[in-house]
């Protein structure tokens, strides 16, 4: 798991992951790159991350992928990421194409639903919580 302040260096990350894994006999390498879109008059997005739980969430996914003989990679931004920069890169490596395609879908969808990361729109230099796009984590309401 890799966390970086501000936008990600996508070519560096993808090249490093590919070069470090290509001799390990995985047949399929499927990255997912999230790029900040120019929309809603934002100048960018900003992110808070709760690292202890994120680490835990990711390690659970690593174990789950290992049972399928697959490996996962994950990088995310902290702080401001401007429009057309990237805030999120993950990847699945697997001996089997079918497993890799299934896992990248499941992993990215679960990331969206449960990774402890908070998103803000950057508008007029202000940080506005993206509440309507946010999702309650499983188990929410425990203290209500």
């Amino acid at each position: 798991m890799e966390l970086y302040k501000n936008g990600l260096n996508v070519p560096e990350i993808l090249t490093r992951w590919y070069e470090s894994e290509k001799l390990l006999n995985y047949g399929a390498f499927i990255p997912f790159v999230g790029i900040v879109r120019d929309e809603n008059n934002i100048s960018g997005l900003s992110f808070d991350v709760y690292e202890p739980l994120l680490k835990n969430w990711f390690e659970n996914w690593v174990s789950r992928a290992e049972k399928d003989g697959a490996k996962l990679k994950f990088a995310h931004s902290i702080g401001d990421v401007l429009v057309h920069e990237s805030s999120y890169v993950s990847a699945v490596l697997s001996p089997k194409r079918e497993v890799a395609l299934r896992l990248i879908v499941e992993f990215v969808e679960d990331f969206k639903a449960n990774a402890p990361i908070w998103k803000y729109d950057l508008i007029d230099s202000k940080r506005i919580y993206a509440e309507s796009r946010s999702k309650k984590i499983i188990g929410s309401g425990l203290l209500a």
Partner: protein
């Protein structure tokens, strides 16, 4: 003392309480009008692990995190 962290958009300094479990914490926090809306939509982690039971015993040094709705990527 148990440390309570309010994450992301709750935007509030951590607080420390002498509590035995999450029932105690709920009793304290429900009187805080700033927090009441957040509690309904927030999950809870103890020492970096999500929990789903208010009766889990807390000890001094534990860190409880209040986790509002998320949106990574």
């Amino acid at each position: 003392m148990v440390k309570i962290e309010f994450l992301g958009p709750i935007n509030r300094e951590a607080e420390y309480f002498n509590i035995k479990n999450l029932n105690d914490l709920a009793e304290i926090l429900k009187n805080d009008s700033e927090l009441i809306d957040w509690l309904e939509k927030s999950a809870v982690a103890i020492n970096g692990k999500l929990v789903f039971d208010r009766n889990i015993e807390l000890k001094s040094g534990d860190v409880v995190a209040i986790l509002p709705p998320v949106c990574g990527g």
